[in-house]
Structure formats: structure tokens, C-alpha cells
Symmetry: C3
Subunit: 223 residues, 3 copies
């Protein structure tokens, strides 16, 4: 139960999600996405610079896009020194352990799914904290979750995963997670177990979608 | 004739274009561009998510880019709830009436041309209202008009229409419309008939360019 | 030696780099990059609009990205009228002297290297002036230097130079230049000879990298 002020409203300085928790979830998301970007770059035989750039844009791109649209500039990724260190660590890991990364297709998919869950919760919570409505907050949460991957795919000249009609559900679990975050947030402040449960549910739905081949519907075609 | 204050200047709270009119023109532009993005996605057999994403970026991308560069953040597309509803409507329409959309190549081109006209007027008017000079405002008006389509083409991995040397005039009518808006704006506030006339003229020039095959000049080649 | 206030600190209104010098270096960088973008567009047989767009995004893209992330909006490219005039001049030059541009592959590479040097110095100095830490400032300096080129390549559907494993060092000289700028800046204000020397060193390293085929390391591969 969050403290309320004399008139029963939560003070403006309190965010829905506890700042330290939000930062920890956010950094965890940056790490798993940076690993997925660096791994893609290494598999495509990009050089050191290409690996570092893809690790950075995949890990930080979604959050930078979110902070820019919220007008919270410079983005937290440039103000909090820890953020930029994370893609450096991911790049070093992939350079040293490339043979390991090549074998770990499954762990990378799991990392990516974890990032999806973490970022949709953090992204929509930040948008709600900034005073945006429910629909824009769900959009920003989804954009935070899938944005880094879209920028990664555009720069690496791949068809963005989010557009492939034959790919398993990707944006939809993120959108559902962002909507769940908004639903909980509108009742009361989001706490750690709630945030974690939503992120975990998104991860599970994404992994089930991969295993069972769940697809989004397509436009009806003349037959 | 706009009201002026005691010293003969228009009050700062008044924009060149009446706010409600500007919003109506802007939303009409969002709708026609969202329809063009959703139609392209459906023709490329993207799934529900892909259609919704392309409808959203095509409809809202130009305006979000404009608001970001003007420093008016969060962009109006995230503050005014109606904006995000429009791509949802466009997506629903394309999903339900896909067979109709496939047949309506011409109407889509007309919608797109209408969006071009509406956005170049609204975009340059907003930039002028924000205090930018004439040249930057003409650029922002053009960017508002063609920006969503460029993002759509980059994400869908098409050569951006605006770059194809063999394509009919696209950016040039928008630039002329933005310049006309700046010319009228610098005389006095822009009113509804003037804004509508410029948008209609851009639409007509664009459709004539398609029908008659008007092209922009290219660099001279040796030969 | 910069003037200091009564308590021995540099006044806040003073930037590390003298404003007029910063502007001159910045505009020189815009010009050389705009020429490189316009030349690429002309070689790809883009029309007038395509040439102007590529000249503009290549010349101004990195700086607009930097100003946006710093929250200095509208970006200087839209506030200072001279900035937008530069890509117009570059476009006119390339349209008129296309036969000359086709022959001048080497000068274009040299121009591009000059832009790299100028922008990494200006970009990191602006970020440091805005109060960012060293690591984010080095990143922003590098991004200012390579950003316009990356946007140019994405729009022209080329693999971004910065990602090609077989290409000579490009981002690394810029990163070293940004780091050198930060090192000098942290001692005292950067002056004209220092800024010029760093930019020149980046240019020389880049040109040597092209001539000698210096490459960035790649991830170790099995076997």
C-alpha cells in the first residue's frame, strides 16, 4: 500500500513502480537485449564496431525512443552511467565467448523473451507516471519492448521480426503485458511482485508462442 | 481577420491556423495515411501486428517527427487520445474489407495525395507558430507530409517512394504547399478556406503528376 | 586561458569550445557530409529531390540526432538559418558539376574524413557542455560523426558503412577523437588549435586506414 497525501492522492514524487526496482528491471532488460544484438552481429560476422553498435541499439534503442517521446531528455541511458556500460559488457562477452554464443540459440531466444517482458512493464509504467493516458502508455510500453529489435533489424537489413507473417507472436505478448501493467497501475502503485509476475507471464507466452507456433491473424484473402 | 492586442500584434495564444480546424485537418491526414499504410501491409501479407504497425507509423510518423523536432513532447499523437484510435480504425477496416482494398488502388493513391496536402499545410503552420523561420518551416511541413511514408517504406524494406527517380512528383507538391502556407501565414493568420485551397491544390498537382508522368529533374550525365 | 569568475570557476555561459568557432567547425562538417550524400545520390541516379534529401540527412542527420538526445530542441539546424542553406548549395553544386563529382572519388573520401573529424569534436564538446558524463559524451560525439552517414545508407538501402566487416576503420577514429576531446575538455576549455589538431588527427587516421586497409577486430571463430 503506497503512502497517500492529506487529500488521499499519491504524492507526485512517487512513481507507480519503485525507482530502484524500475532501474534494476530496466538494466536487466538492457543486458538481455544487448546480448541478443551482439549475438546477431557476431553471427553475421560484423566486426568489433558492428557488434558494439548492434548491442547498443538493441539494448538501449527502445528506452531512448521512449524517453525521447516522453520528452525526458537527455534519455536515462545517457544520464545514468551504468546503462552505457551494459552493451560494452555484452560485446566483450560475445567477442570472448563467440563459440558459446553460436551454440546458445535457445538461451538467446529466452533472453530476448525476458527483455520483452521487462521492457513492456517498465515502459508502460514510465509513460503512466509521466501522465499519459492508458492507450498511449500501452503503445509506449510495446514500443519500448520491440523498438530496439526493430532498429537492430533495420540496421542489419533484416525484415523486422515484428513484421514477419510467419513468425510467432512477438509484439502481442508485449502489448498484453503493457495493458496488464496499466490495469494494475490504475488500481494502485505497481509493486515488485506484480511487475515481476507480468514480466514472467509475457516471457512464458512468448516462449509458448515459439514452441507451439502461435501466429497473429492475417487479413482475409479472396478465395 | 484575427484579433490583435493593444500593440497591434496577434496574441501569442492564437495560432495562425484555428486549433480545432488544425486538429480536424491533421486527423483527416492521419486517417488517409493510416489507410495507405494498412493497405500496403495487407498486400504484402503482413499479419495483424504488421498491419497495425504500418498503419500507425504511416499515419502518425510524420507528425511525431515534427513534434519531436519542435520540442513539443510528448507529441500530440500521444496526448490527444483520438490520434491513436485512428490507425486502429484503419486496421479494422482493412482486415474486414481486404478484398475491397485490393481493388481500390486508385482510391488509395487519392487518399495518399490528400494526406500529402493536409500534412504539408498543418506541418508548416505548426512550425511557423512555434517561431521557426520560413525555410525550416517549409522543411518541417514537407517532412510531416512525406515522413510517415518514408518510415513505412524503410520498415517494409521498399525503396522510399521519395527517392525513386522514375516516380512521379511527390515531395515537390508538398514543398510547394508548405511554401504557399508560409507565404499566406506571413501576411496574416491562415484561415480555413486558404488552408483547404492549398491542401486541395497539392492533391491536384500530385494526381496530375501521376497521370501525366511528371518527374523531377535528375543530375546531368556525361554523354 | 579562459576567464574565470570570482570563485575560480568558468562562468556557465562559457562553453568549452568558443561558440563562433564551434559553429564554423560544425558548418564545415555539414558541408563536406552534404557533398558526400549528394554525390552518392547522383551516382545512384536519384532525382533532384532524392539528391537534396540525401544531402540534407547526411549533412544534418548526425547533429539533429545529437541535439534531440541532448533535449536542445528545435535542433540548431532548424534555428540557425545558415544550416539549411548548406545542403541546398551542395545539391546545386552536384547538379551542375556532376561530371566533376563522378571523377572525384578521392576528394569525396577526404571530405567525408574531414566531416568525421569535425563532427566528433563538436559533438562531444556539445555533450560535455550540456553536463553529460564522459562515456555518454564520447558516444554522442561518435554518433554525431557517423549518424548522418548511417541514415544516408539506410535510406539509400545500402549496408551501413559502419557495419561492413571488410571496410576500413570508420567509427573508431571518431571515437578516439571524441575521447581526446573529452580528455582536453576536462583539463580546461578546448581552444581552436586543440580542436583543429584533434579533427586533423582523426582525418589522417581515417585516410591512413583506407590506404593501409586497417580493419577492426572481429569475433573469434571456431576452427
Amino acid at each position: 500500500m503506497e503512502p497517500v497525501d492529506a487529500e488521499g492522492r499519491r504524492p507526485v514524487t512517487l512513481t507507480g513502480l519503485e525507482p530502484e526496482l524500475e532501474r534494476a528491471l530496466d538494466l536487466a532488460g538492457v543486458l538481455v537485449f544487448a546480448l541478443s544484438g551482439a549475438s546477431l552481429a557476431a553471427r553475421r560476422h560484423f566486426d568489433l564496431v558492428g557488434i558494439l553498435v548492434l548491442a547498443t541499439v538493441t539494448g538501449l534503442g527502445g528506452g531512448i525512443l521512449r524517453d525521447t517521446l516522453l520528452g525526458q531528455l537527455p534519455p536515462v541511458a545517457l544520464r545514468d552511467q551504468l546503462y552505457l556500460a551494459v552493451p560494452l559488457v555484452a560485446t566483450a562477452f560475445v567477442l570472448v565467448a563467440h563459440h558459446l554464443v553460436e551454440r546458445m540459440h535457445r538461451p538467446v531466444l529466452a533472453f530476448d523473451a525476458a527483455g520483452l517482458g521487462l521492457f513492456c512493464v517498465v515502459g508502460s509504467a514510465k509513460a503512466l507516471d509521466a501522465g499519459l493516458g492508458v492507450l498511449p502508455s500501452v503503445l509506449l510500453g510495446t514500443m519500448t519492448a520491440v523498438g530496439g529489435g526493430v532498429i537492430r533489424d533495420v540496421l542489419a537489413r533484416e525484415v523486422p521480426t515484428v513484421f514477419k507473417a510467419d513468425s510467432a507472436l512477438y509484439a502481442i505478448p508485449a502489448t498484453l503485458g503493457a495493458a496488464a501493467t496499466a490495469a494494475v497501475w490504475s488500481q494502485d502503485a505497481l509493486d515488485a511482485p506484480q511487475a515481476g509476475a507480468i514480466a514472467a507471464a509475457v516471457l512464458v507466452v512468448r516462449l509458448l508462442a515459439i514452441r507451439r507456433g502461435w501466429r497473429a491473424p492475417t487479413a482475409k484473402r479472396r478465395g
